[in-house]
């Protein structure tokens, strides 16, 4: 039998080395502007407009808004994985504009992303095992803390899935593999971009519970991108509401959801089944 069975309760994250406590914010974004040029007309479109954001160590921050409001563009720019735009971005205290390519590559593993489409996040030609092997080859020191079977156990997957290809995994399994891959890197910030949108409801709850558990045990900060306010409320401390590229309201979840100040936030809340559930209570 595998090691996962010998190490006790699957999903036990207690042995995960905690991220060293530090006062440096994981991510600071000041006045970020990201513009896309329309391929056809050549017109500039402002996807992210004067956005500022701060994520402290271990903090859980959400960005909510409708599709096309610039949430993902913001997250990709802020983590140096997409078009960077203008404005100051500091990742773990390093300004992205000032770091060299080599430094950026060294910084990147500190931020791991879990995407909406779990199948699109895995190379279709790589089995789970060879994907993990590649991550280990890329970051040997970071990833030596756990073996493959144990790692899968922590996201509650059986080790026999190691030899599967992505198309042989269900959506929920693939998303757990994605979370395991992120976990392996011991990041200080996990960006979850609509991590539950492509999954059915019963699996959504599991994935959210897993994210919550990982956050609690590893001390990693979380940047949650979502249009689902119920998901955000269950997982995050601070929320930023985005509308057409701008942050229209920001604050602690309880305050923003309890006494929204902005009209758009109120509309968004009214449109959510979770909000009705809350008001009935």
């Amino acid at each position: 039998m595998s090691e996962a069975a010998e190490t006790g309760v699957p999903g036990d994250l207690a042995r995960h080395p905690r991220t060293p406590e530090s006062d440096t914010p994981v991510l600071e974004v000041d006045d970020l502007v990201v513009e896309h040029r329309d391929g056809g007309t050549g017109a500039l479109f402002r996807a992210v407009d004067q956005v500022s954001l701060r994520i402290g160590a271990g903090e859980s921050v959400a960005v909510v808004g409708e599709s096309g409001s610039g949430k993902t563009t913001l997250a990709m720019a802020a983590t140096g994985l997409g078009p960077r735009g203008r404005g100051d971005i500091r990742l773990l205290g390093h300004s992205l504009a000032a770091v060299s390519r080599t430094q950026l590559r060294r910084l990147r593993p500190e931020v791991q992303v879990v995407f909406q489409d779990p199948h699109g996040s895995l190379d279709p030609r790589q089995s789970v095992r060879s994907g993990l092997r590649e991550l280990r080859a890329l970051q040997p020191e970071r990833t030596s803390w756990i073996d493959d079977a144990d790692l899968l156990g922590r996201v509650r997957l059986a080790p026999d899935l190691l030899d599967r290809y992505p198309h042989q995994l269900s959506g929920g399994q693939a998303q757990r593999v994605c979370i395991a891959r992120a976990l392996l890197m011991r990041p200080r910030l996990i960006v979850a971009d609509e991590p539950t949108s492509g999954l059915d409801v019963s699996v959504q709850a599991d994935v959210l519970a897993l994210l919550r558990q990982i956050r609690a045990t590893t001390g990693a900060a979380l940047l949650m991108i979502s249009h689902d306010l119920a998901v955000v409320r269950s997982l995050c401390d601070v929320v930023h509401v985005m509308y057409r590229g701008r942050v229209v309201e920001a604050g602690p979840c309880d305050r923003v959801f309890g006494t929204p100040e902005n009209d758009y936030t109120r509309e968004l809340l009214a449109a959510m089944p979770g909000a009705r559930w809350r008001s009935r209570r």
């Binding site: 791991q112 996040s121 190379d123 790589q126 509650r156 059986a158 399994q173 709850a205």
Partner: protein
């Protein structure tokens, strides 16, 4: 919902590994590759055995029909041409050259075409603009014009023929590869790899290129067919291989004047080209299925 409610057993999926379909794909690859392999071995090995009639002229036996027609004899199984040369001997040596031209012609087009398409599709920006202009310019030039210009300048020889095949084939390969690369680079796993600290060359050559394997195999086999057809067309026009070398295309060309008196001179090379190109294209299809893990499932 509390954490305790969410304690779950490890998930073991009821997705069964796709075994049978994979075997089927392998079988069809085998049955398509077999006649191609037999042909290749035959044209390369037969001349070494000494079983073939000698290919010299025999003016007493011109335009003899194949052995299975009245008037034919087993001394010349496929008959003779207007100089009394044995057609089977010619057919075998021409087949050898045709296969070499098909394979090398495909490689010289696929190699640069794939590389340029990959670079254009992945890096975009000015790299893409320059390569796209080159592709458009190449595709705008009529192939016969390019071939004529080069052959008129350099003369007819095998290296020149390969140059023509490379120049006429790379643009299509580059365009297809570029489009496929652009689709793959937008996939989230590429972002994930970047987040894991993977270098650009690793992403391009270890992840995007293998994901293009199906496309490249399909392009490659199509290109083998195209190279054989292009060579045949050039030889037909007298621009391809020149005597003493001959290919199935040049045999077809030399047989065209004789069609009314000795149809078999052109018939067998023509049939061989058709069957070879068809088999190669079907093999490409089968390989495509075999190499794509997603298609193997079905």
């Amino acid at each position: 919902m509390s954490m305790s409610q969410l304690e779950l057993d490890p998930v073991t999926a009821p997705v069964s590994p796709p075994r049978r379909a994979g075997r089927r794909a392998r079988t069809s690859v085998f049955w398509l590759a077999l006649p191609l392999a037999v042909t290749a071995v035959a044209v390369f090995v037969l001349p070494l055995t000494g079983l073939l009639p000698d290919g010299g002229q025999d003016l007493d036996a011109t335009r003899r029909p194949p052995a299975f027609l009245s008037g034919g004899s087993w001394a010349h199984p496929l008959g003779t041409d207007k100089l009394g040369q044995d057609l089977l001997t010619q057919f075998v040596s021409a087949g050898r050259l045709t296969i070499v031209i098909g394979l090398v012609g495909a490689l010289v087009a696929i190699g640069p075409g794939t590389l340029l398409g990959l670079l254009a599709g992945y890096f975009r920006g000015w790299v893409d603009r320059v390569i796209s202009i080159l592709i458009d310019a190449q595709l705008a030039l009529p192939f016969i014009l390019v071939a004529l210009a080069i052959i008129a300048n350099r003369g007819s020889s095998l290296p020149v023929l390969f140059l023509v095949l490379a120049l006429t084939g790379w643009a299509v390969c580059a365009r297809v590869t570029r489009a496929a690369t652009m689709a793959i680079r937008e996939r989230q796993f590429v972002v994930g790899l970047r987040a894991a600290g993977a270098s650009e060359p690793r992403i391009v050559f270890r992840h995007i290129l293998p994901n293009l394997a199906g496309t490249i195999v399909a392009l490659g086999t199509l290109q083998v067919g195209t190279a054989i057809l292009v060579e045949s067309a050039l030889s037909f026009l007298g621009l391809g291989v020149v005597p003493p070398m001959n290919s199935w295309g040049s045999m077809l060309a030399s047989g065209q004047d004789e069609l009314s008196q000795a149809w078999w001179i052109a018939f067998f090379p023509g049939l061989a080209i058709t069957v070879l190109v068809l088999l190669v294209n079907l093999l490409g299809d089968a390989l495509l299925t075999h190499h794509d893990p997603r298609k193997r499932r079905r």
